[in-house]
Symmetry: C2
Subunit: 419 residues, 2 copies
């Protein structure tokens, strides 16, 4: 099935807004086995919209149009859609009441403009939007089925999952049960994991597809499967998932919607643990990531950020600090003791070497103080410029804590460090 | 002049990569007075590229093609361009030597694949790329001038500024001297500033254009002018810039490439000042932003992040802390004293109200301890969900420090707080 996405709106066309709606839609569609073959961006301009719809209807089977469903005069999607389909616009009474109710719940009266959002092309299929006032709709234009969707990200995200993807899967005639399993790892590059998992697709007789999404320093490994029903998919995927877990081993840090931070927080909550962090050279990102994920504030207690090892040593009242794993251990122990937490994590990234023939590198020194065992330390030299060293070092600090909580070795080599 | 951008590559088409190259190019072109009228995205696929070039050549005067100039077989831009222009590919000896030199400087030998990057369509105009191995080129296809550019962000950024924009301005026949002046403010919404500056364009007789880019909590006001020469532009813009400065008043925090952080750091450096920060409810972003900008590490000393006001109070050894401006003042003074800095900044954002008919709100409490004057405090209730309250509160904390350093009142109301 040939799918095209048409993004509309002056803000996207002019680059004022980065088009994350496009990438979100294309990525999600690929994850359910539907490839997007063409992307078009046009402004809030009648002629451009007409031309974009005409071209898309000639080259695609299904077209998702994003944006242009708002209440203002520059929102033209319904109007141009009706014209292109050769029909008029009629009022959808039920949706008008819905919009009025939306305003009433907020103690306001619907502005007259918003009536426009309930005007849909005659004969079009209504598509619900439970989180906004712009409903979607579907209609045939030329040889293609057009799906009109709102431009507000959380509205299109929901409509895509609940309404558009099911319709596209049905149209595509593919077996409609699709499952996407995601594995998150740190320390292994994309080509390395590709090698480690080679042969896996073949064992499933072409029913599964492996994909990768590298967002340094993490790598996401995606296993996509399609089958006649859920039970068949389960029995197809279970052994494959077990193989991936086994091969990724200690590098596997989380699955599906879980994250490194959520795994750490869950691990600490399981033992009624609490955490304090001392860091320098990190831009405060170690504590920043944990505190952003610790919704209840039940685990994280405090973080100390120093401009340098020396500034951090002064703050923690530690004399004679040098740039060493021993100092990191003293920091982790000190921050644990003064914060009265079960765990202390120290991450130090002293200034590294920029550029040069090798492309730069930098050290990271990590220590974890935990109850009932000696303080663990880890030291690595990460390859890259300062942003890459910092991102890798922060991730490594958090990952060492994850490993420590899970009883794993914390010194397995990662692909990003000097070997 | 009608301009189109064609983005190529499977990574962009599939959404794996967010297409920031497009938004960067379109925004920069608009800033020099050139509007992009159409955007196309296609994959590394010969037929799609042929069709995209054919369509673009029929509707645009100038087309920027981004991506597809790499050394691998899936990079097809030169080949399809030559075919579309009806010419062959020939080796650009000078560029081949340049690529070989690039590798040699890194102690490596050029892989044979890279020779492909020096094969350009016959009769095409060479476009230099001083920061990579993919040169650009320009060639006429149908009625349009096509500019082929590399997909690596820093390469296209540089080529756009140095090579493409000058050529487009010349093509457009517009007066080629263009100047863009940028003002950054915090606390005023886009429509408010639009009102405050109304009439400004008219006074310049249509030679300038005002534009806005809101990236909450900051607003960027752009003044674009075009004239016959630099001297004329200077005398046109100087009084307009003065008017904008006067009208934005204390809300103006930086101009052009400067940022709130860089202005604060410069202000502190001017008085040999140093800074310590205590914060909670901020995800550590107050210190995070400062330390990220403090390249030399000469100003920022340390930051303390608490999971709550209480956790922060424990860390700073302050008994009986409550959620008040008085407590914020004690925190600022404590962190200044224990860190032995000239300035202490405290920002507290206790949990706010989520959602509801009002859409949520949250308090922010700020204090600044500075040498030789009483500690200043500021309290505000910011409107919005928790992410918006946090971003607004962090910005307000930093902006109060900027105001304090510049001798301005720190309690001017902002549009984002409950009035």
């Amino acid at each position: 099935m040939r799918v095209e996405i048409v993004c509309t709106g002056d803000e996207v066309l002019s680059g004022k807004t980065i088009n994350t709606n496009y990438s979100h839609m294309a990525r999600r569609l690929q994850e359910v086995g539907i490839d997007v073959l063409w992307g078009t961006t046009v402004g809030d301009d009648r002629k451009s919209l007409q031309e974009a719809f005409r071209l898309a209807s000639g080259r695609a089977d299904a077209v998702i149009v994003n944006g242009g469903l708002g209440p203002t005069v520059d929102d033209l999607s319904q109007e141009v859609a009706a014209e292109a389909a050769g029909v008029g616009l009629i009022l959808n009474e039920a949706w008008l009441e819905n919009i009025q109710g939306f305003y009433k719940a907020r103690g306001r009266v619907m502005p007259p403009n918003n009536r426009k959002q309930a005007m849909l092309p005659e004969g079009s299929e209504f598509i619900d939007n439970p989180v906004g006032t712009a409903c979607g709709f579907a209609i045939d234009i030329g040889g293609a089925r057009f799906f009109f969707t709102p431009g507000v990200p959380r509205e299109i995200h929901k409509m895509l999952e609940d309404e558009i993807i099911p319709r596209l899967l049905q149209m595509s005639g593919e077996q409609a049960v699709v499952r996407l399993k995601r594995f998150h790892s740190f320390g292994l590059g994309e080509s390395r994991v590709d090698d480690m998992l080679s042969g896996l697709e073949a064992t499933a007789g072409g029913q599964v597809k492996l994909g990768f999404q590298a967002h340094y320093p993490e790598l996401e490994t995606k296993l996509l499967a399609r089958g006649p029903n859920s039970a068949a998919l389960e029995s197809l995927m279970a052994p494959l998932e077990a193989t991936i877990r086994e091969r990724l081993g200690s590098y596997l840090l989380a699955e599906d919607m879980a994250s490194l931070e959520s795994v750490i927080l869950a691990g600490l909550r399981d033992i009624d643990g609490t955490l304090a962090i001392a860091e320098c050279g990190t831009h405060g990102a170690v504590a920043g990531r944990i505190v952003a994920a610790d919704d209840a504030g039940a685990v994280f207690r405090r973080g100390g950020l120093g401009a340098s090892v020396k500034a951090l040593a002064t703050a923690l009242d530690i004399p004679d600090a040098d740039v060493s794993a021993t100092t990191a251990a003293r920091f982790a122990e000190a921050v644990k003791a003064t914060s009265r937490t079960s765990h202390g994590l120290a991450v130090m990234i002293p200034p590294g070497e920029e550029g040069g023939a090798g492309g730069g590198q930098g050290d990271v020194l990590i220590a974890i103080a935990a109850p009932g065992k000696p303080t663990q330390t880890r030291q690595a030299r990460i390859v890259g410029g300062k942003d890459r060293v910092r991102a890798g070092g922060v991730e490594m600090g958090l990952d060492c804590l994850r490993r420590s909580l899970q009883g794993l070795a914390i010194d397995d080599k990662v692909d990003f460090e000097r070997q």
